[in-house]
């Protein structure tokens, strides 16, 4: 009942929605960076949004399924295959025992999520299965996947069992069987080039030099190669404060845009330090965090300021769209004939 890792890809980790409530002990929330994609992948295989998934970055893993499994791939557009044949994304797919799934490379976006029905079964540490790469715990022994690893699956939900039975009847020994329906990949955001990222400004932003304030919106920033799950280092025309003042370290948040003395902003992500001393000039709106998570090295970003209230309304609307999608999906799955 396991999946053998033949090739681990570039940076593949087990993640769920994060380990919240421990930041006062220095423990970053970690968790999937594109929570929309990880949630949709879980829903497609009858899991709760909180089930553990595999997050892959730029180059996906190659996996050998030793058992039949209901899987879904969501996130960036990766050229995934099963036994050499194209594997559709944003659909529930039944993969038969012995199949080799190669998740391929990113063509659009940066991260791909693989959900299996029942979730990836790794021990819970502090109420989460997310990998903490800094402190090396959680997920797959606190590290990225390696060739030779085995991933185990939890028990499928009744909804997933029904779907598996229906797809088995339809598949009849083929490597894969899938449903006629799928989820639109653009339900949360549409990848654009350059990327428009909406932010809520902070008080520290007012301390920037007037030219820097204009420049923040009018000139693009590029995601540099020194980016990881802790944060994206951006490069662009350097921004400057009227008076640079490093503050006593204070709590950080996902999407916080820090400005170190070199004037090149850093967007903090889920594996960030829990406290930091660099001034935070803006924070990415929650609605755009999944979009940021799909930014690749060299992606150009333009920032756009929105009001706090607007940011909250946009996020709530996004979550409503997600729930509506889930309701439709449930309806489709209920109508399936075994």
């Amino acid at each position: 009942m396991s999946i053998a890792v033949q090739d681990a890809g570039l940076l593949s980790t087990v993640q769920d929605l994060g380990r919240w409530g421990r930041q006062h002990l220095g423990i970053a929330p970690t968790g999937a960076l594109d929570t929309c994609a990880s949630t949709l992948a879980n829903w497609l295989v009858g899991n709760d949004a909180t089930a553990a998934v595999l997050e892959m970055t730029l180059v996906g893993a190659t996996l050998k399924f030793e058992t039949d499994a209901l899987i879904a791939l969501c996130g960036g557009k990766f050229a995934a295959t099963v036994n050499g044949q194209p594997l559709p994304l944003y659909r529930p797919v039944l993969v038969s025992a012995g199949s080799q799934v190669a998740c391929g490379r990113a063509e659009v976006g940066a991260r791909l999520y693989l959900a299996v029905s029942g979730g990836i079964d790794v021990p819970q540490v502090m109420n989460s299965r997310s990998t903490n790469l800094t402190a090396r715990f959680g997920g797959m022994e606190g590290r990225t996947l390696q060739p030779g690893d085995r991933l185990y699956m939890g028990a499928s939900s009744p909804q997933a069992q029904k779907l598996i039975a229906a797809l088995k009847a339809q598949g009849k020994g083929k490597a894969i069987a899938t449903t006629p329906f799928f989820i639109s990949p653009t339900i949360c955001h549409i990848p654009t080039s350059p990327l428009i990222v909406r932010v809520v400004l902070t008080e520290a932003f007012q301390q920037l030099q007037p030219e820097s304030q204009t420049q923040f919106f009018q000139s693009p920033f590029t995601v540099s190669a020194q980016s990881n799950r802790m944060g994206y280092r951006l490069s662009g025309k350097p921004l400057a404060f009227q008076h640079y003042e490093e503050r006593l370290s204070a709590g950080t948040v996902n999407g916080a845009i820090q400005l170190p003395p070199d004037g090149q902003p850093i967007i903090l992500l889920a594996d960030r330090q829990t406290v930091g001393g660099y001034p935070i000039i803006a924070v990415v709106a929650s609605v755009d965090l999944p979009k940021v998570a799909q930014a690749n090295v060299h992606t150009q970003i333009y920032f756009q300021a929105i009001a706090l209230q607007e940011a909250q309304e946009l996020y709530r609307a996004q979550q409503r769209a997600m729930r509506l999608c889930k309701a439709h999906l449930d309806l489709k799955l209920d109508m399936l004939q075994p």
Binding site: H24, L25, A135, E203, L248, S249, G251, V253, V275, Q312
Partner: protein
Amino acid sequence: MLLHGVGDAIYLGVLGVLTCVRQRPAPFSKRYNCCISTTSRMYSYMHIYPLGDATLVIEFGKDTSPEIRQRIRAVVAQLQTSPFQGFVEAIPAFTSITVLYDLQKITYSEAEMYVSKLLSITSEVQPRAGRTIEIPVCYAEAFAPDLKTLAAYLNLSVQDIIDLHTQPLYEVAMIGFVPAFPYLVGLPEQLYAPRHATPRLAVPAGSVGLAGKQTGIYPFETPGGWQLIGRTPIKLFRPDAEPPSLLQSGDFVKFYPISEREFFERSQQAR
């Protein structure tokens, strides 16, 4: 005892204005003037403002002090024991508390109103009493790559540094940066030293370091730029324990020197 509740008032009294002159008002922010305790007569402004769309920050001043840190711990304890609807978590720091909330359950103004009411009633709540934890440190050369050069830089002998470092009762001002990393305050002035210009790529777990006015312990191997003067065999971070961090904000730390032999014996036990 309370002098006054804060309610919905924006400015309360002249003191609030006087103590805030260095800060410029910003949209959404409100300032509160509140009394920490009638006995200490420590007045401080409180400044509540949003940080993005799912977080609010309570700032207690520009500079940190033991009183401010105690007040912060009391408020955090109150938030953790009686959370508001939609409360996610609170990160205490030197002068501020970062409060995360679920924006699907509560708006900013609702969260702000709750927090400001809470601040008006928690003045007298005592936080958990800090424990004193003794931490053995081996200052032997093998574990203290920077001790000799630091001694030369500070114009002290190696023994002077050990004596000075083991003398104070340090306060754990906060835990953060990486899991279980304690920010310790109370370093003797003679030991103030700069960080390395280029950080080491890997500082071994248990390393005890100095930087600026602070001393700290690396819970596990990470990159780091502090001056390394010793190593402890004690494990600061144990992911399977509850709580996973040996030290908590508000605890006190006393270092004591041990020999290399003791270090290895204790390391065996710690496994």
